[in-house]
Amino acid sequence: MDDASRYIPASEADRQAMLREIGLERIEDLFASIPESLRLAHPLEVPGPLSEQELQGEFAARARENRELDGRAQFLGGGAYRHFAPAVVDHLITRTEFYSSYTPYQPEISQGTLQAIFEYQTLICQLTELDISNASMYDGASALAEGLLMAERANPKGRVVLSDRLHPEYVQTARTYLSNVEVGVDAFGHRPDGTADPEAARKEIGGGASALVIQHPNFFGCLEEVETLARVAHDAGALLIVVVSEPVSLGILKGPGRQGADVVLGEGHSFGVPLSYGGPFLGFMAARAAFLRNMPGRLVGETHDVDGRRGYVLTLSTREQHIRREKATSNICTNEGLCALTAAIFLSVLGRDGLRELAVHNHARAEYARRALASVRGCSIPFGAPIFNEFVVTLPIPAAQAVRALGERGIVPGLPLSRYFPGRERDLLVCVTEVNPRSEIDRLAVELGRLA
């Protein structure tokens, strides 16, 4: 008996019996359909097993190699934002009733889960000022991809037009989703102040499109003229999709639904989901009621039972993949349940005034930082448009080099834009939230001043 058998319930005798039953001799025979040249002819070359104690030691040593953010001044944004979450959020979501539940597959028996999702949907509708929200999606990038497919279902034109100030990773994900369907993806440019250019949009959309897509605040932190761009989209018979990667901004900005957006989607992790090495994230999507039957994913509705008592149901499941197969509105048959619950609790704890106050703090600190960096020797602010909590600063040296230099001094000054935009070598995307005290911002300005 080998060690692994402690954790694998089928014994060697069980395995032999199963192989005999299906007429095979060895486990390897199961892989006969894979060409021999692609199969590994010898066991994987991995180190031998470790005891549980050794394993814990191994991983603790690896963890110590990470540079911790605690104690460092950190200004990274670009789609992943650091925010403070009250302890009550973690306390509630780790209750086993919630923590171990997956998206409901026998839904009506899970009234608590359904009610939590319904509350989440209601909050998303209130923030975006739209009629309907789905039960959540994987992340902002896949929500965009699903939003484009939805626009094409509701308004088939075979083409979508995207602002060139969308998060480049969102665009990459969307292009991957659309690569095997006949929907063209085109882009339009921006104005010198950093915002999407309505005239460029008008020209690009001339030939017709299912949707015009903007991000607000955009990838460079600038606030867009949503109402103007909504008119451009609607005049051309296209839907306006507004992508929001930092939803804390909705605490002080008008809901894009009120400004003419037909669909608002994006990333919701800012509402209490911590940054943990790239996820889990929380995709959200809201739309006008007219798109109810084109909405991807799951949707919880409130109803009454035969005795008139309030209850919750998974509604419109008839359009989901497990029932409608290849004709389903989407291949998403799940939701990001625990993260949606986290967002619902976070927003409930903050309340309307709390979210507004949080947004005001973010904006005020970012404005303070933008003014501080504008006056640093050798630095300049390339885009003049209003911002929320992020902005671009042009440095006297390549931004990647500055990040290395400041890293030695305990500061992560931001995201070098050259990672996505070759030619923007000296541009750094700086994000400031409520977790960055003014003293950190002052230190950042001093250290950047030493680069010139």
Partner: protein, 134 residues
């Protein structure tokens, strides 16, 4: 109750996919059968083509959604959509109550009356659903 015991008017033509068509000159009125509505259950939504759309015999022209399933509906004949039953948007349950008169789906201007020859009579359709349910 035997599946074939529903009401299947003699003056209609039927498809294997459970649509009916009533023919007046070159205009065909199309709906779903008593059997189709009873199998679907409570109908909650109907998706119909725009007036002027070309439909093709045997191809999908819309869908009927019940609390249990969404089911495609197929054109019994090719032609151009002249009119759709707008009242179904507000009261799709009409199809359950009255599948042959008030519950019609669309009217088409048929391109080729010969296409109707492939459709079933009421008696043939009754036999078809008996066979299908066995």
């Amino acid at each position: 109750m035997s599946k074939g015991n529903g009401i299947y008017p003699e003056d209609l033509k039927y498809t294997k996919e459970h649509e009916w068509v009533a023919v007046h000159g070159n205009v065909g009125t199309v709906g779903i059968t008593h059997y189709a509505q009873s199998e679907l259950g409570d109908i909650v939504y109907v998706e119909l083509p725009a007036v002027g759309t070309a439909v093709v015999a045997g191809e999908e022209f819309g869908s009927v959604e019940s609390v249990k399933a969404v089911s495609e509906v197929y054109a019994p004949a090719s032609g151009e959509v002249l009119e759709v039953n707008g009242a179904l948007a507000q009261s799709p349950e009409t199809i359950n109550k009255d599948p042959y008169t008030e519950g019609w789906l669309m009217k088409i201007k048929m391109a080729d009356p010969n296409e109707l020859k492939g459709l079933m009579s009421a008696a043939e359709y009754r036999k078809h659903i008996e066979d299908e349910s066995n």
